[in-house]
Amino acid sequence: MATLAGDNYRLRLALRYAVLILIAIIFIFPLIFMIVSSLKPDVQLLQDTSSLRAFLPVGDISFDNYKNASERAPIGLFMFNSVLVTGITVLLSLFFCSLAAFSFTFLSWRGREVQLSIIIATLIIPFETIAIPMLLLVSKLPWLSMGGVEWGWLNSYHVQIIPFIADGLTIFLFVQYFKDLPKELIEAARVEGASWWQIYRSIIIPLSGPVIATAAILKFLAMYNQYLWPIMVTQEEQYRPVLVGLQYFFQLNTAWGEVMAYLTLITLPVLAFYLVLQRSFIASIASTGVKG
C-alpha cells in the first residue's frame, strides 16, 4: 500500500513538472529561435523554420551575422544612446518623483490635494494619445541659443529624456510607500531642528530601498523599450536608440540573419540584467499590485 501511494505521489509530481515544463517551452521558444537563428546564414535560417532544426544550433554556424550587422549599422552608438538616455532618465526620475512624493506625503501646504489628484488622474492617459500634440509642442519649444545658433528639441538627447522624467506612476509608487513609513520619525527630526531637505536626504531616502528598486526597474523597462517617441523625434542617426536602429535592417532585401543578430544584441543585455536581478524585477511588479 505504501509503495502504491508513493508511486501515485511520484506520478502526480511528474505530471506537475511536465505541465510546468510544457508552459516554459511555450514562453521561451521564440527567444531560443532568435539566438539560434542569429548564428545561421539566411538560406538555412529560412529553411530550418519548417522543422525542429529552427531551435538547434546545427548546420553552418558562425558569427558572420554579427560581423555584417555591425558593418551595416553603428550598433555601438545606438547602444550608447539607449543606455545614456535610459540611465539619465531613470536617475532624474527617481530624484524628482521621490522629492515630489515626499512633499505630497509629509508636508502640508495649500494646493497639495489638487496637485496630487491631477497627477493620479494622468495615470489613465495612454502616452500614445498625447504623443502627437507633444511632438508639436517640442518642435516649437526653444532650448538654447548660443552664438547665433539655435538649438531646438528635435534630434537631441534631451527630447528623449526631459518629457519622461516625471510620471504619474513613479510619483504614485513613492506616495504609496511613504504613507506606510512611521510619521514619528519625521516629527522627532523636526523637533531636533532638522530641515525638510535633511529629513528627505538622511531619513526618508535611506529607508526607501525597495520602492527605489521598483521605480527604477519599471522606468528602465519603459525607457529602454521606447519606440514611438524616438522614431518621431530622432531623424538624425547621432541620437537614435537601439529600437529605431532596427530600421537599418529593413531595406530592399531584408537579411534576416543580421536582424536576428541585432535583436539578440539588443535583447541579451536586458535579459542578463533581468536574470541577475530577477527577484527584484518580480518583486517590483508585485508591489504595484499589493495596494490595489
Binding site: 509530481l13 506537475r16 513538472y17 510546468l20 508552459i23 516554459a24 511555450i26 514562453f27 521561451i28 521564440p30 527567444l31 529561435f33 532568435m34 524628482f96 518623483c97 522629492l99 515630489a100 515626499f102 512633499s103 508636508l107 501646504w109 497639495r112 496637485q115 491631477i118 497627477i119 494622468t122 489613465i124 492617459i125 495612454p126 502616452f127 500614445e128 494619445t129 498625447i130 504623443a131 502627437i132 500634440p133 507633444m134 511632438l135 508639436l136 509642442l137 516625471a166 510620471d167 528627505y200 523599450n225 519606440y227 529600437l243 532596427l246 535583436l263 539588443i266 535583447t267 536586458v270 535579459l271 524585477f281 518580480i282 511588479i285 508591489s287 504595484t288 499590485g289 499589493v290 490595489g292
Partner: protein
C-alpha cells in the same frame, strides 16, 4: 500665533518647492499636450500648412463619428421587373448615387459604405463618414473584450501553478516572466516567423501534428486570422506581468485560512471558491484595469506586423491616430482620435470602478 503662522508659511514654501519640478514637468509634458489634443481636435491644425489654423468646432468629430443607414431597392427594368445579373442575383444602384450630391439625402452626404447585408430583396447599407475609423474602433474594442478576460484568466492560472511549493519553481517563474522584459517590437518581429504563410513555425507544427493534412495559413496576411494572431501574441508577451500581480495577491492570503479549509475537508475547487477568490478581490480589480488600459493602447504590434492590414482588419485607434497625426501630418485628425480614445478609456475605467465599488 505669529510663530505658528510663519512655520506654516515656510512649510507651504518648502512643499511647493519640492513638488514643483515633478509637478511642473507633468503639467508641461502630460497635461498641456492633453489640453492641446482637445484644442487641436476643434481646429484644422496641420504640422506644416500654408494656411492659418482655424477653429472649426466639432467638424472633426462629425467627420469621424458620423453614421447613416440606407435601404436600397434592386434596379428594375422598364416593365417594373427586377434585373438579375449573370449569377441570378439582384442588381443594386451604386451607393455613391445616394451619398454624392443627392438632394434627397442631405444627411448622408459624403459618407461611404461601412458594411451591408441583404434583407428580403433589399440591400441594407450602413454608412460611415470614416469607415476606417469605424473598423479601427471595432477592432480595438474586440481586442480589449477578448484579451482582457482571457489574459487575466491565464495569468491567474499561471499564478496558481507557480504558487505551488515545488523544488525549482523559481526557475519556472523566471521563464514565464521573461517575455515581459523583451521589447514588444522585438517580440513582434520574432512572431512574424511563427505566423509566416509558407515556412512559418506555426504552420510547420500544425502540419506535423495533423500528418500534413493542414493547409498552411498566412496568419497575418488573412483578414480572418490577422487580429486573432496579434491577440495571441500580445497575451503571450504580457501574461507574465499579470501573473506576478496575481501571485502577490495570492501571497497576501493567510495560510491559516487554507489550513482551516483543509480541516473542514474542502475540495480544491471549494478552497479556491471560498478562500482564494475572495482574497483576490482587490487584485482582480487592479489586473482588470491595467489590462484594459494596456489593451486600448495597442500600437507597436500593428506597426511592426501588419500596418493595419490586410483590408483594415487590424486597424486600431492608436495606430490610426499616429498614422494620421504623424504619417499624414494631420495633427487635428490624430488629436481627434486621441480624444475619442481618451473618452472611451475614461468611461470604461469609471464603469469598472462603479461595478467593483465597495458595497456597504
Amino acid at each position: 500665533m505669529a510663530n505658528q503662522g510663519s512655520r506654516l508659511t515656510r512649510q507651504n514654501l518648502h512643499g511647493w518647492l519640492f513638488a514643483l519640478p515633478g509637478f511642473g514637468l507633468m503639467v508641461m509634458f502630460v497635461v498641456i499636450p492633453f489640453i492641446f489634443a482637445i484644442v487641436f481636435s476643434l481646429t484644422n491644425q496641420r504640422l506644416i500648412s500654408p494656411n492659418p489654423t482655424e477653429f472649426i468646432g466639432v467638424e472633426n468629430y462629425s467627420n469621424l463619428l458620423g453614421l447613416g443607414g440606407l435601404v436600397i431597392e434592386p434596379i428594375k427594368d422598364d416593365e417594373g421587373r427586377w434585373v438579375l445579373d449573370s449569377k441570378g442575383e439582384y442588381k443594386y444602384p451604386r451607393t455613391r448615387k445616394f451619398t454624392r450630391n443627392n438632394p434627397d439625402h442631405p444627411d448622408i452626404q459624403g459618407m461611404k459604405e461601412w458594411f451591408s447585408w441583404q434583407w428580403d430583396h433589399k440591400k441594407v447599407v450602413v454608412l460611415a463618414s470614416d469607415p476606417v475609423f469605424m473598423k479601427a474602433l471595432v477592432n480595438t474594442l474586440t481586442f480589449v473584450a477578448v484579451v482582457a478576460p482571457i489574459q487575466s484568466l491565464i495569468a491567474l492560472c499561471l499564478a496558481l501553478l507557480i504558487n505551488q511549493r515545488l523544488r525549482g519553481i523559481n526557475i519556472f517563474r523566471t521563464i514565464y516572466f521573461m517575455p515581459v522584459v523583451v521589447s514588444i517590437v522585438v517580440v513582434s518581429l520574432l512572431w512574424r516567423f511563427i505566423y509566416d504563410g509558407q515556412n512559418g513555425l506555426l504552420n510547420s507544427v500544425l502540419a506535423s501534428l495533423t500528418f500534413n493534412h493542414f493547409e498552411p495559413v498566412d496568419w497575418l496576411g488573412n483578414p480572418d486570422t490577422a487580429l486573432g494572431s496579434i491577440m495571441v501574441m500580445s497575451i503571450w508577451q504580457a501574461v507574465g506581468f499579470h501573473m506576478v500581480i496575481w501571485l502577490s495577491g495570492l501571497q497576501t492570503i493567510s495560510p491559516t485560512l487554507y489550513e482551516a479549509a483543509k480541516i473542514e475537508g474542502a475540495s480544491s475547487w471549494q478552497t479556491f471558491r471560498y478562500v482564494t477568490w475572495p482574497g483576490l478581490r482587490n487584485t482582480a480589480i487592479l489586473v482588470g484595469i491595467v489590462i484594459t488600459m494596456q489593451a486600448f493602447a495597442l500600437f507597436a504590434q500593428i506597426d511592426v506586423m501588419t500596418n493595419g492590414g490586410p483590408l483594415d482588419s487590424t486597424q486600431t485607434i492608436v495606430f490610426q491616430a499616429v498614422e494620421r497625426g504623424y504619417g499624414k501630418q494631420d495633427i487635428s485628425g490624430g488629436s481627434t482620435l486621441s480624444v475619442v480614445l481618451f473618452v472611451i478609456v475614461l468611461s470604461i475605467s469609471l464603469l469598472q470602478r462603479f461595478l467593483t465599488r465597495e458595497k456597504n
